[in-house]
Amino acid sequence: MTVKSQNEKLGQGVGFERIRRITGYLVGTMDKWNDAKRAEERDRVKHGLNGNA
């Protein structure tokens, strides 16, 4: 992964970090999560504050 390329640009190949909670602990980014937990995170739906979501 290059960071600063010759034409003075920044960020090639650098992804965004996405921090999520897993069983009470935060995990830095999701690439260390096991497959089942990744699937669970993918399936999570948001809860609305009134009525039925």
Partner: protein, 760 residues
């Protein structure tokens, strides 16, 4: 005539009938069924048998063992035959375990963790590093040994086949799970880490640094998380010491400036010390008017100052000392958070699993600690990254911080603002009836504290006079595959409860077997946890004592996952779908709790019910169940079973209903529980809305809860918030590059922007 045989590894060796006779004799002796003469006779017939069956070719081991079994039975040595078959099965299992262990180690050694799910079983161990791999290899070896040699066959079978999950199985023979460290007790009089003696700390900086050391040291004695239940109360003592030192010095300096004198530090300190001795009070942020006046009076006498001058000197010194103490506290809290995110445990493979509880200390010092730890959390790490550790737990209590007008209400509000950005703190609710019953105002040890992921220890059947959070923890826990029991019951409630009862008995026995191993350890096995008196009553032990009695302050917990899938299997719906099924859910969990309470009374130990944090487990059970039952709709058709008693994550429900439905399970799961609410980013950033959700949890009787929302970060421009496809600050897409000048422009607008150094 048999000349030779083929061994398992393919080598051909000379046939030796004596060896067969010796093996038969061992089986006979083990079962007290036959003697050497019998063994020789059977061995002779084994040879005849083999000659009949393998004409001309050399027999292999399996063929020989089959013949031995047959001939033992032909001769009527049934008990010996049984012993021989068992021995043979055990050997096969051991051989398979060895092969599978070597395969596992091979995977750990050669496969990238990004590809190997096994290496990501626990997200906090980096399976790609040398020490992380070493840890995983050790863990694999320990698991193989424990299953072969320590578990009863019925427990091994239940574990292997996924009826139950024995958590932290690699540590089965080694240690206990977790502990709430009473950091003040540890600090008073100093302590030893095992690698050196440390004096009682004298400033907030050293209080905070040593708190991190204590967590790290204790983490090496246990496999679970480490928590400080009294973070605010404990650090407040360090703040008070820092203030006192600052007060002496700043008062002396103010005086030196005023009167144009040289070094007055010693004189002034002596003067204040005299006042301290006379009044029995010390300089403090909230010192009494009486104390301040006495110092002012002493200054006028000693230095011939007019009263007004002396009084403004003291006022200025106090103000500056507060400012200096606040700065020091802020730095100390920042340092603490940085330490816990960077320090290593387990030979560098992990950072310690750490939690801190705070929110209820209303002293000026305690409030200063709470505010600054929240600000440090808010600021994030060096590049603004969200801190992974410690888990922050804010203790909510009416009359202390819950309502407007409560002394710490401002800090509760601040905590909501920070949590809306950083996911921490989580909230524990001391007003929930099952927590309030232990609460005694003025005794912080009676405030429920949580061990990060959810573990809670409060009641104490072993010693009802010690129903406290401090110095205790979980000893071990094992979880039940609840959906499988439900599936196997085929909709028959009675069958379900019978099976559940049997499974709980099995788990209770297994926990007791493990306790037996733990109970026989000694202080020196846990130089910090027991050697430094962290664990309750361990300071009363001698080197000869085993740990049996003191460990009984801890809990043995029976956990479960997949209530939602179990209900669906039994009744066709889960508890989010109908109030009737919710009642059924509460009956099941109530039954499990009652079992734990009965066991506790029976054995005078602390059995408790855990809403299992199903990290590695959520996939393990369901994979096995899919093989057995296929993909059953709403039960086994996803990649995971639902966390403990949660409403399924994929089910659309309002935050209020989710909280209302999950709250009653908190009361039942006394070993620990947590509820989550998922908010979208915009709602989460609205502090009023965020606080409303926390208040809803409080009012519904939730014990421990937290709010999930997306926290993203662009490492290039340092933006923290929600990032969809495009970063709202610098406008780049994932993986895209942007001109260096653009970054520099942005830096002018956002001076706190990190200088990007590479991939962290």
């Amino acid at each position: 005539m048999i000349q030779s045989i083929i061994k398992r590894d393919g080598r051909v060796v000379l046939y030796d009938q004596n060896k067969i006779a010796a093996a038969i004799l061992r089986a006979m002796e083990a079962s007290r069924d036959g003697d050497a003469a019998d063994a020789a006779r059977v061995a002779n017939d084994v040879q005849n048998d083999l000659e009949r069956r393998s004409v001309g070719s050399a027999p292999d081991i399996e063929l020989i063992q089959d013949a031995v079994e047959r001939q033992l039975m032909n001769h009527g040595f049934n008990a010996a035959a049984k012993a021989y078959i068992l021995y043979r099965a055990n050997r096969t299992r051991a051989r398979e375990a060895n092969t599978s262990l070597m395969k596992t180690i091979d995977e750990i050694t050669n496969i990238d963790a990004r590809i190997s799910d096994m290496k990501r079983d626990n997200a906090n161990i980096d399976g790609n590093t040398a020490m992380g791999s070493m840890l995983q290899i050790g863990s694999a070896g320990a698991k193989a040994y424990n299953e072969m040699y320590l578990l009863r066959p019925e427990h091994a079978k239940a574990y292997r086949e996924g009826d139950i999950h024995i958590h932290d199985f690699d540590f089965y023979s080694l240690t206990t799970t977790c502990c709430q460290i009473d950091i003040l007790k540890l600090f008073h009089g100093g302590f030893s880490t095992g690698h050196g003696y440390i004096r009682e700390p004298k400033s907030i900086a050293s209080y905070a640094a040593l708190a991190a050391i204590a967590i790290q040291s204790n983490q090496n004695d246990q496999h679970g998380g480490q928590s400080i239940p009294n973070f605010d109360y404990a650090m407040a003592e360090g703040v008070a010491k820092t203030y006192r030192k600052a007060y002496y010095r700043l008062l002396a300096e103010a005086l030196e400036d005023k009167l144009d004198l040289e070094e007055q530090a010693i004189t002034v300190k002596e003067l204040v010390k005299n006042v301290e001795a006379k009044l029995g009070q010390v300089p403090a942020m909230e010192s009494s008017p009486e104390f301040d006046e006495a110092v002012i009076y002493a200054l006028t006498k000693r230095y011939g100052l007019p009263l007004g001058d002396a009084s403004s000197l003291v006022a200025r010194a106090k103000k500056r000392a507060v400012r200096k103490t606040d700065r020091d506290t802020h730095q100390a809290m920042e340092g603490f958070v940085h330490n816990l995110n960077t320090m290593h445990s387990r030979a560098g493979a992990q950072t310690p699993f750490s939690s801190i509880n705070y929110g209820t200390d209303t002293s000026a010092e305690g409030r200063m600690v709470i505010r600054n730890i929240l600000l440090a959390l808010d600021a994030g790490l060096g590049h603004g990254e969200t801190c992974i550790f410690p888990i922050h737990i804010f203790k909510v209590k009416e009359g202390v911080n819950y309502n407007e007008g409560d002394p710490n209400y401002d800090l509760f509000r601040l905590s909501c603002k920070v949590s809306a950005k950083r996911l921490f703190p989580n909230y524990t609710f001391l007003d929930a009836p099952f927590n309030l019953q232990y609460y005694v105002p003025g005794r912080p040890e009676t405030e429920v504290a949580t061990m990060g992921c959810r573990t809670r220890v409060m009641g104490n059947t072993y010693d009802p006079t010690r129903e406290i959070a401090y110095s205790r923890g979980n000893l071990s826990f094992t979880s039940i595959n609840l959906p499988r029991i439900a599936i196997e019951s085929k909709g028959d409630e009675k069958v379900f409860y019978e099976k559940l009862q049997r499974m709980m008995e099995l788990v209770a026995q297994q926990l007791l077997d493990r306790f037996e191993i733990q109970a026989n350890k000694r202080i020196y096995n846990y130089p910090f946890l027991m050697g430094q008196g962290i664990w309750l009553d361990s300071d009363k032990l001698t080197l000869q004592d085993d740990l049996r009695e003191v460990l009984k302050h801890g809990t043995l917990s029976i956990g479960f996952i997949g209530l939602a899938e179990s209900l669906t299997a039994l009744y066709g719906e889960h508890h989010g779908q109908s109030e009737e099924i919710q009642k059924k859910g509460l009956e099941i969990i109530g039954f499990m709790r009652q079992f734990c309470d009965q066991k506790s009374q029976e054995l005078k130990m602390n059995f408790s019910l855990l809403a299992t944090p199903a990290e590695g487990l959520s996939g393990r059970f369901i994979r096995m169940d899919q093989k057995r039952y296929g993909k059953l709709h709403g039960i086994t058709d996803r990649e995971y079973y639902t966390n403990s008693f949660h409403i399924p994550v994929w089910y659309g429900i309002s935050a209020y209903d989710k909280i209302r439905l999950e709250a009653p399970y908190h009361a039942l799961c006394n070993a620990g529980h947590i509820s989550y609410v998922e908010l979208d980013g915009d709602t989460a950033r609205n502090v009023e809305a965020f606080e409303a959700v926390v208040r809803c949890m409080h009012d519904c009787g939730v014990g421990y809860g937290s709010i999930n929302h997306p926290v993203d970060r662009d490492p290039i421009c340092g933006y923290v918030g929600i990032i969809g496809d495009v970063c709202p600050r610098c406008g780049r897409r994932e993986g895209e590059e942007i001109p260096f000048e653009r970054v520099e422009e942005l830096r002018k607008m956002y001076p706190e922007m990190p200088a990007f150094q590479g991939i962290e």
